[in-house]
């Protein structure tokens, strides 16, 4: 049966991340006031190696100049509970200004290139 056949993605990366989808639960004016604390927290997570990648999501109808609604934050964690705890400590979530849900994501395919220049210590991600 299907479940007994070898996985079609055997040999793929199969690396688990946790994805936090965060949505506004208060007027933008209120959220904006806590934005510095949220950004500081993001940098702290980056510093600790917890944050894989994060930023706002826009659908096709969204005006690029508008503040986004949904944010997607991809983190490293050992379990769903740990991921939820990390997300819960975001100042915006703590204050109830945004609400969130956490999903597990298994990365199988993909690639990126990084060019690092020693002479000026610059880097470019492609």
């Amino acid at each position: 049966m299907a479940d007994e056949t070898p996985s079609p993605v055997a040999g793929f990366l199969q690396k688990e991340f946790y994805v936090v989808f965060t949505r506004p639960a208060a007027p933008m004016e209120e959220i904006r006031k806590l934005m510095p604390q949220h950004l500081e927290r993001q940098l702290e997570l980056e510093e600790k190696g917890i944050l894989f990648a994060a930023g706002p999501l826009f659908d096709a109808s969204a005006d690029a100049s508008e503040r986004p609604g949904t944010g997607m934050i991809i983190i490293r964690a050992g379990s769903q509970a740990e991921a939820e705890q990390i997300a819960g400590e975001d100042p915006l979530h703590k204050a109830g200004l945004r609400s969130f849900e956490v999903k597990t994501w298994k990365v199988n395919e993909g690639s990126y290139s990084v060019t690092v220049k020693y002479s000026d210590q610059s880097m470019e991600i492609i």
């Binding site: 299907a2 079609p8 993605v9 990366l13 199969q14 690396k15 688990e16 994805v19 004016e29 904006r32 006031k33 806590l34 934005m35 510095p36 950004l39 500081e40 993001q42 940098l43 997570l45 980056e46 190696g49 944050l51 894989f52 990648a53 994060a54 930023g55 706002p56 999501l57 826009f58 659908d59 096709a60 969204a62 949904t70 997607m72 991809i74 490293r76 379990s79 769903q80 999903k103 597990t104 994501w105 298994k106 990365v107 199988n108 395919e109 993909g110 690639s111 990126y112 290139s113 990084v114 991600i125 492609i126």
Partner: protein, 130 residues
Amino acid sequence: MPDTSDKAEAAAQKLTRNYLGKELYVIFTVPNATREEMMPVMPDHLARQVELEEQGILFAAGPMFEEAGQAPVRGMVIIRANSFEEARAIADEDPFHKAGLRTYTLDRWVVNEGSYTVNVKYSDQSMTLD
């Protein structure tokens, strides 16, 4: 104490001045058929994924789960594209989407923060991603 709006805005601008601001497109894909109907097309889908990887289009892709260990509820495929139109054209070419076996939605994602570590060993040409 929350800052006043002006003060918060200024502080936020200062914190984000060197942000990456890299634009990617995120395809959320959900089943539109039974697993039995989808499985025969899986090899074609995976071959397409590897082709996108080869072409440098695929940033990262894989199944998404409500909780670890459960059956996946959707797939999340993050790609490099220059517009919604281009991203849609790439998503439409997926054999699952082409056959109507899965449907998808598309969002633009601006990556601002994050980090990763890659360790490459020359001696055995292995790599680990953290």
